[in-house]
Amino acid sequence: MKNRFEIAKNIFVDSVDVSDYIELGASQAAYRKLESSIDKPLKMVLLFGKPGTGKSILLNRITNELKHKKEIYYFDTPATTQKEFFHKVFKILTKKELPSNAEVNFAALVEFCKGFRGKREIIILLDEAQMYDADLMEKIRLLSDSRAVKFIVSLHKTEDEDLIAKEHFQSRIWEVIELKNANLEELSTYVHKKLLKHNLFEVSNALKDKNLKLIHKYTDGNFRECNKLMYTIFEICEYYDMNDPNKLNYSKLPVKIVEMAALKLGYINA
């Protein structure tokens, strides 16, 4: 039988599995906004936020929800070359494979798109779009101008670079959805819900406000960082549970363990 801390640890393995999705007020609002943007006659929608704010899981969820209703495609990893990108787009639009030695004629592709305007509506979700170069982004913009293909572009927001200000986004993006780090209340709900979803109510109860405040302080409310920290916390608990149970208070997670996990991950230094 698995140790309860081992189960708890594995719950926080970072993944974009839709079944792991935890509904929170803010993420629910972002989801609804994205859903309504898809229904509007917009050409491009920008979804942005710091890494670990839940962009990928949101795109995954919307793909999952709408895949039976709309022609929706999710590009989770950016294409390494323009050739590869247009091969994928060609396959979506024509439902045919392009020979590997052939290249897409971009002008013809745009004309082809214009041809089915009003008959088909294709939605392409581009994750990690900061990896695409400006030239490719411009071509994506031209494709979206055909009004037959709508792009949802997901980008990282970095401290030193305001992406919305980038030239090709400033004039083209008509709807912007920003995902932010969670506040203390949201992060607490996220952690408790994750544990309760797997019936680990005793572990969930052992996490007191003091622990959660500390976790929020170290991770700044970032879900990915929170997952990492929670994983390490339960890894330490698992060790003590098996080797040195005297050091573990089962009704109240010792602050020392949270601090040890933070030390391990470099949030604080000895």
Partner: protein, 231 residues
């Protein structure tokens, strides 16, 4: 794999580093207090003071007992006035000695000391208590949290758990709490009906299930209803 020993070592270092400013502040505070006491004592002229002043000084000394560790030695032993002061002082600190001595009798060296209690402070060591939470306690915690947050996950969880533990009255209560928040949670309707059957209120369970089926046409509810009617 985690190297817990090394991590514990790192945590000790971190903890010491975190407490260092407190130690420094405490030490500085101690230094300032003992310095000011030293200055007060140094400037003190026994020939110029009257009894009232001395008693003031005594009260100050009593308050600072825990900080001052050096005994106060009075040098002008033969001074009559000083002996009177000392008598007053010893009356406060050593009443028994004063009873047996005349106020004008010169005092021994030992009598010139104010006894200070410099025994070590008692440190309350925190014990690590290992209490395994019983399920009941954990449920109560979830109940308390529900009253605070009104989270449906908690109430449906409690309804489920109480049903499994055969506490049908509580299962009914928590399924009703869930139902108050959201009437579309099928699980709460089913637990309610099953608990009612267990408590012998079969007709009520059938009535509730029929109402729910009319509302949702749920397959699970129909299945349960059939099962209740057949049994």
């Amino acid at each position: 794999m985690l190297d817990i020993k090394e991590l514990e070592q790192q945590w000790k270092q971190y903890n010491n580093k975190r407490k260092r400013p407190l130690y420094i502040m405490g030490f500085l505070g101690l230094l300032i207090v003992s310095g000011s006491i030293f200055v007060v004592n140094k400037n003190f002229d026994f020939n110029k003071i009257n009894i009232d002043n001395f008693s003031n000084l005594l009260s100050v000394k009593n308050e600072q007992k825990s900080i001052e560790t050096k005994p106060v030695i009075v040098k002008s032993k033969n001074d009559y006035l000083l002996n009177n002061y000392l008598k007053d002082m010893i009356l406060l600190t050593k009443p028994k000695t004063v009873e047996s001595t005349n106020s004008l009798t010169p005092l021994d060296d030992e009598d010139l000391y104010i006894e200070k209690d410099i025994s070590k402070p008692v440190i309350n060591k925190k014990k690590i208590s290992i209490i395994k939470v019983s399920n009941n306690n954990a449920y109560r915690d979830v109940e308390r949290r529900f009253r605070r947050t009104h989270n449906i996950n908690d109430s449906i969880f409690l309804a489920n758990m109480y049903y499994k533990r055969k506490n049908y009255k509580k299962a009914i209560y928590w399924s009703m709490q869930t139902n108050k928040l959201d009437k579309n949670i099928e699980e709460s309707w089913l637990i309610f009906a099953k608990s009612k059957v267990k408590l012998g209120h079969k007709n009520e369970a059938i009535r509730v299930l029929k109402a729910y089926i009319k509302r949702s046409n749920s397959y699970e509810a129909r299945k349960l209803l059939k099962k209740i009617i057949n049994n």
